[in-house]
């Protein structure tokens, strides 16, 4: 009986902590947007150079690995698609599946997961280290709002860069898939391109890009929340960094499902 009560108490505490963390995340997002929009009138504008620096870090530095992975995904989808459709003798319809799944699903997902691993974790580690070194207190007592200075720039960079990276991943993935399909089905790349253009609607493209922007927000906020909750020195920073990657990827996958459910019905 006592054990069961203890278990219930722990469950209750965990649930309350989870809700509190969710609230903290929402507050942070609200504050970051507030500073992005109204910072200028509060005499604390979000500086464009620091947004640009973050954008370079999140975007340009991630281009090579995103190129490699979206090439691989494109090839993989083409191979699997032809293999599956062969059962019905419908290999020629492979482009439909490949084009839609790359643009609507795989590009945003793979970009989101990569950026979560590269930039979300870096953000968590940076904020965590700043917290234990009193650097965040130092910002506050200087009259510099930490959310405006540390959260708003990566948030803005992420919201701009994620759709751009996803667009790039779309192009690379479609091109790689096209190469394989053209060779395997003895067609031409031009015919493949024509088919892709006729299949894809603007709506499909926007579906993927909108998701990418949402993933960008998720990665930033999850990274910042975990970084800001660091306690317990260097070990704590490591623990929260790992946690931020796991949480960000989970958030991305779950949000993806919810988004698709809401939009396609």
């Amino acid at each position: 009986m006592k054990d069961a009560l203890n278990w219930l108490e722990r469950l209750g505490r965990k649930a309350a902590a989870g809700v509190a963390e969710f609230g903290f995340a929402a507050t942070l997002f609200g504050q970051a947007v507030y500073w992005l929009v109204l910072g200028r009138w509060r005499r604390q504008p979000v500086r464009m150079p620091s947004v640009a620096a973050q954008a370079m870090d999140i975007g340009i530095a991630a281009l090579p690995i995103i190129t490699v992975l979206s090439t691989t995904i494109g090839l993989m989808l083409a191979i699997q698609g032809i293999y599956t459709l062969k059962t019905f003798g419908a290999e020629s319809r492979v482009t439909l599946g490949v084009a839609l799944s790359i643009v609507r699903e795989f590009s945003p997902l793979i970009t989101g997961i990569l950026v979560a691993g590269r930039s979300g974790s870096a953000l968590a580690a940076r904020l965590g280290t700043m917290r234990i070194n009193q650097e965040i207190d130092a910002l506050s007592v200087m009259g510099i709002n930490p959310v405006r200075f540390l959260v708003a720039p990566p948030l803005m960079a992420m919201m701009i860069l994620m759709p751009l990276l996803t667009l790039w991943a779309d192009l690379v993935g479609l091109f790689a898939a096209g190469l394989y399909i053209a060779i395997e089905l003895q067609g031409s790349l031009a015919a493949y391109a024509d088919e892709v253009v006729s299949i894809l609607k603007l709506n499909d493209l926007l579906h993927g890009l909108a998701k990418a922007a949402i993933f960008g927000v998720l990665v930033t906020i999850v990274g910042v929340v975990n970084g800001a909750s660091v306690s317990g020195g260097a070990e704590g920073v490591g623990r929260m960094t790992t946690r931020s990657v796991v949480h960000a990827i989970s958030a991305i996958v779950i949000t993806d499902m919810i988004f698709v459910f809401l939009v396609t019905r």
């Binding site: 903290f24 007592v141 009259g143």
Partner: protein, 279 residues
């Protein structure tokens, strides 16, 4: 000097962490141009008091006036203005590790003023001269020694020419010679710029060297608040213990002792300490 309003006025400050009361009815005032030392052992509440003076924590009750303004009733914009008129040198320095020393010191100027880069560079180097760190502006904080980090932190704290300077444990972790040079720096800053300086420390030598007045905190209460000589000659046993580095016999509570040995949890052990939340 005595006619001017006090730089800091604390009236009946009470604060809690969760259920535990940390500061009990603390009242003090700091005069303009004065070096005011807050002294006390570990756990006496001096860091908590500093965090309240900096506006990083909210008190349970009581009033804190900084430069004549009640910091708990100020709007965030007024608070921002107030903060540009005070500087803080943290114990660890708290320099931003991703920026060079020069960028660290220039940051408040870049954020709060419209000065051009040329002027900002000149002011930055001027402050580095004041703390004897000239020529080090291109180094990263990780490349500095402990004493140099403290000096750089002082330079950043005074870059806006504040009326009020807070120093948290300026001599902690430094060898006696370097610690003494930091004391000299504090005295020089006061004499040259006429600012009020609040120093939080447990270092007795440095306290007697720099202080105009001393506030001795013990278990969250103000044990004494007086001039250096008065504190030195105080008849109070606890103050004398502190000054002569005598350890105090803790009162033994047999029941509590037994409970601790048996590993039973204290009454509030399960409740998380209520620290600062948010960024």
């Amino acid at each position: 000097m005595s006619n001017a309003p006090p730089s800091i006025e604390v009236i009946n400050l009470d604060t809690h962490y969760g259920d535990r009361q940390v500061l009990k009815n603390v009242s003090l005032s700091v005069n303009p141009g004065e070096i005011f030392v807050i002294m006390g052992g570990s756990g006496s509440g001096k860091t908590t008091l500093l965090n309240h003076l900096l506006g990083l924590l909210r008190p349970t009750s009581g009033t804190i006036r900084i430069l004549g303004k009640d910091i708990n009733t100020l709007s965030s914009l007024e608070m921002q203005d107030l903060r540009t008129r005070m500087g803080v040198a943290f114990q660890s320095g708290a320099l931003f590790s991703s920026m060079s020393v020069g960028d660290n010191i220039a940051l408040p100027l870049r954020e709060h003023t419209d000065l051009d880069e040329m002027t900002i560079g000149i002011v930055t180097r001027l402050k580095l001269e004041v703390v004897s760190l000239a020529g080090f502006e291109h180094l990263m904080p990780a490349e500095l020694s402990g004493g140099m980090i403290k000096r750089a932190a002082f330079a950043r704290a005074i870059v806006m020419d504040p009326k009020l300077l807070f120093c948290d444990e300026p001599s902690a972790g430094l060898d006696p010679v370097v610690a003494s040079s930091i004391d000299d720096l504090i005295l020089r800053l006061r004499d040259a710029m006429g600012m009020s300086i609040v120093v939080v420390t447990h270092d007795l030598d440095s306290t007697f060297k720099i202080a105009d007045r001393i506030c001795v905190l013990d278990k969250g209460e103000v044990l004494a608040l007086d001039t250096v000589d008065a504190i030195r000659n105080s008849p109070n046993e606890r103050i004398q213990n502190l000054l002569n580095r005598r350890t105090e016999e803790a009162e033994v509570d047999p029941d509590a002792y037994l409970r601790r040995l048996l590993g039973e949890k204290e009454k509030h052990a399960n409740q998380p300490t209520q620290g600062r939340t948010g960024l």
